[in-house]
Amino acid sequence: MAETTVTHTGIPRPEGLRGVAADWSSDQRAFKNVSWGKAMMWIFLLSDTFIFGCFLLSYMTARMSTKVPWPNPSEVFALHIGGQNIPLILIAIMTFVLISSSGTMAMAVNFGYRRDRRKTAILMLLTAVLGATFVGMQAFEWTKLISEGVRPWGNPWGAAQFGSSFFMITGFHGTHVTFGVIFLLIIARKVWRGDYDTGRRGFFTSRKGNYESVEIMGLYWHFVDLVWVFIFAFFYLW
């Protein structure tokens, strides 16, 4: 799907909404100019949205229904720097890193479509490094909380569900980031090696790939970032 030509079916289409319906129900493809891989990733992300949605709703239910006070995230997630407590500073940096990695990913997609192997691979590697940095800071955050006595089954400041939800949701999101980093490295390697120019076949699927893989990888990566924004808003800022 390197060239995005508009499909001409040769059949006149009606205007407006009827045209949309006609396109949707027309033969071969419901979404014109969308490849199989990209459609699959979008539908997977829709399904994954429901998973994160259920996690966040469960957390909110627990938080709203508990009779024990909920620990104050601003204090719990503060770092003691230069003699004073700065609330949410680590989370702010983590968020900045992850959002920045979305930027580098978008640039990688752009250079991918320009067939610039070198810049694409470098930007993907940079994205992976930022992602790994995020996971590393998350590990630091977990270590700090654990050393302060936060456990999945309890914590010193209030409702036990605080620790349960925290470890579960950030852990599940961190797993997503980690898998993203692994796949970023795999695809960056393929780009670097020129698989998408030479039509080398995949090891498992024995299919030829193309530069669209970079964009599909980007979809996943942006999704993981977007989910983090919601976790940030609902868990840390609430």
């Binding site: 079916t9 059949i11 027309s26 033969d27 969308v34 699959m40 627990a62 036990a160 579960m168």
Partner: protein, 589 residues
């Protein structure tokens, strides 16, 4: 139907997608075991599902033996009875019906019916089956684990599911159950993405969405629903796993067990019920919608008539799918939630009766003045309609809060859901297997064995589940292994229980005839030819039978019409295949 174009060739759009490169297997292993061909994967899925389904069938016998003749069988302790109930329900709903309809029929029929060479991602499709098999093995392993499988009931309600009073609650049973479900969901997602993308983006030229057979519509909609509903079960399983393993309290309130205060506290058991039923209710339609679709095609083919109201049928499927996401709490009327919720969910539940009734009317109107052939698939299709109407009517009882409250947790509920999502979809499963068996194997099944199987199964299912309604109405609770000398339960209940048990044993044995028929006909059945039912849809138009790898030989079919051109006046035969350009000329390839 407006979709028949006299100048068919003009309406075929040029190819938008180049023909796919198929992976060609090089060895026996990659052809038959680690196969990427959707048809082989379909048979693997169906075989595994039916094998584990036989286990669930035997479990139902054991339960019925206990209920029919309490105290006779020493090895069926109350704990064992709960384990049988749990595993029977879980296997039948998820590992048999969901896997068989979507993984089995979906894999076999979607590529063939939309004119594709295979699923869009054959490798991922193969992984889907192997992860499903792993899930089944983990499930089976729980039978051999210390303490046996979980006995929490198929709904796995906390807090009891992970307490020591429940079989498997503090042993491996519940852990293996949850692990197996998580694996199933991962495996299903891999397959489900394939089915959805194949239907949306992988159709052949001329196959518009509104020309697809209703079977594809049913399986497609059910798969989309499953992709959105299984996440809730996934989350619920993960959280319960944490409650059990890490001591979190997502679902666990403060409670005393055996005189001992547990360390749990502050969790919400109702939250689990919401998550479970947000999955659980769509699950009913995940099983029912493929059945709706398949039965539409069976009726149209065997009554030699176009399906009545095709567009309405499609919109009813989509509408039911959408509505089923906002009715889940009708399973929770007695859970103590706010009465206003009950009002809301009762209303949405009853609204579902509208698209469902549209479908039933359309099936009946398709039959009306049709040239009805009472073949085995048709008999099962007719049995589905009556059974589904039966189960649907008791659904009206249970959907209303005031009627549901006294009936809740009685055998009436058991009778209702077995009619509507047990017997009815199973009828379609059998009908569909008989219908497509000639295409899958190239041979015809034995007619008289099929007749025997049908009549025993159909009459027997009613003998089992009709009396159960009465048993429930007089107040017999479900999930009780033994009624004992309970004052309000009349003697007739005990007589009926024995009767139901005998009927269940007979129906179960009749399934052996079905299995024998399938195996015997594989070798001794007469040659079926490519299109024994003279059906229109694409899977019957393959160059060879059974269809080869890649399905279509050199050229994928071009589609000129919908799938229901039966008995068209003036046509040379009483059916016109979807890839037949009559009365026009074929489009250039």
């Amino acid at each position: 139907m407006v979709d028949i174009t006299p100048r068919a060739a003009d309406a075929i759009a040029p190819a938008e997608v180049p023909d796919v490169e198929l992976y060609h297997p090089h060895s026996w292993w990659t052809t038959y075991v680690f196969s990427q061909d959707a048809k082989v994967i379909a048979i693997q899925y169906a075989g595994t599902a039916m094998a584990i389904g036989m286990v669930a069938l035997v479990l139902s016998w054991l339960m019925r033996l206990q209920l029919g003749f309490p105290g006779t069988f020493d090895f069926i302790t109350p704990e064992a009875y709960y384990q049988f109930v749990t595993m029977h329900g879980m296997i039948m709903v998820i590992y048999l019906l969901t896997a068989l309809f979507l993984g089995g029929f979906g894999n076999y029929l979607i590529p063939l019916m939309v004119g594709a060479r295979d699923m869009v991602f054959p490798y991922v499709n193969m992984l889907s089956y192997w992860i499903y098999l792993l899930a089944v093995l983990v499930l089976v392993a729980s039978f051999f684990a210390p303490g046996g499988p979980t006995g929490a009931g198929w709904t796995l309600y906390p807090p009891q599911a992970i307490l020591s009073g429940t079989p498997g609650g503090q042993q491996a049973g519940i852990l293996l159950m949850l692990a197996s479900l998580i694996l199933f969901i991962i495996g299903f997602t891999m397959g489900g993405l394939n089915y959805v993308v194949t239907v949306l983006q992988g159709r052949t030229r001329g196959m518009t969405l509104m020309r697809m057979p209703l079977t594809v519509w049913g399986i497609f909609t059910a798969t989309v629903m499953a992709l959105l509903a299984f996440p809730a079960l996934f989350v619920a399983c993960v959280m319960m796993l944490f409650d059990r393993l890490l001591g979190t309290s997502f679902f666990m309130p403060a409670l005393v067990e055996m005189g001992e205060q547990l360390s749990y506290g502050g969790g919400s058991p109702i939250l689990f019920q919401h998550l479970f039923w947000f999955f659980g209710h769509p699950e009913v339609y995940i099983v029912a919608l493929p059945a709706f679709g398949i039965v539409s095609d069976l009726i149209s083919t065997h009554a030699r008539k176009n399906i009545f109201g095709y567009r309405m049928m499609v919109w009813a499927i989509v509408g039911i799918g959408a509505l089923s996401f906002i009715v889940w709490a009708h399973h929770m009327y007695v859970s103590g939630m706010h009465p206003w919720f009950g009002f809301f969910f009762a209303t949405t539940t009853l609204i579902i009766a509208i698209p469902t009734a549209i479908k039933v009317y359309n099936w009946v109107l398709t039959l009306w003045r049709g040239d009805i052939h009472l073949t085995i698939p048709m008999l099962f299709a007719l049995a589905f309609i009556v059974t589904f109407v039966n189960g649907g009517l008791t659904g009206l009882f249970l959907g209303n809060v005031v009627v549901d409250v006294p009936l809740s947790d009685t055998m009436f509920v058991v009778a209702h859901f077995h009619m509507v999502m047990g017997v009815a979809p199973i009828m379609v499963v059998f009908g569909a297997i008989y219908h497509w068996y000639p295409k899958i194997t190239g041979r015809m099944f034995s007619e008289w064995m099929g007749q025997f199987h049908f009549w025993v199964t159909f009459v027997g299912a009613y003998a089992i589940f009709f009396p159960m309604h009465y048993v429930g109405l007089v107040g017999v609770p479900r999930r009780y292994p033994e009624l004992g000398e309970t004052a309000f339960i009349p003697d007739s209940v005990h007589t009926l229980n024995a009767f139901i048990t005998v009927a269940a044993l007979i129906v179960g044995f009749a399934q052996l005839v079905f299995l024998f028929n399938m195996l015997w006909s594989l070798r001794y059945g007469r040659d079926a030819g490519g299109n024994p039912w003279r059906a229109t849809s694409l899977e019957w138009q393959t160059p060879t039978t059974p269809p080869p790898h890649g399905n279509w030989g050199k050229q994928v079919p071009l589609v000129y019409r919908w799938a229901y051109d039966y008995s068209v006046p003036g046509a040379p035969q009483d059916f016109i295949a979807q890839n037949d350009p009559w009365p026009g000329k074929a489009a250039p390839a």
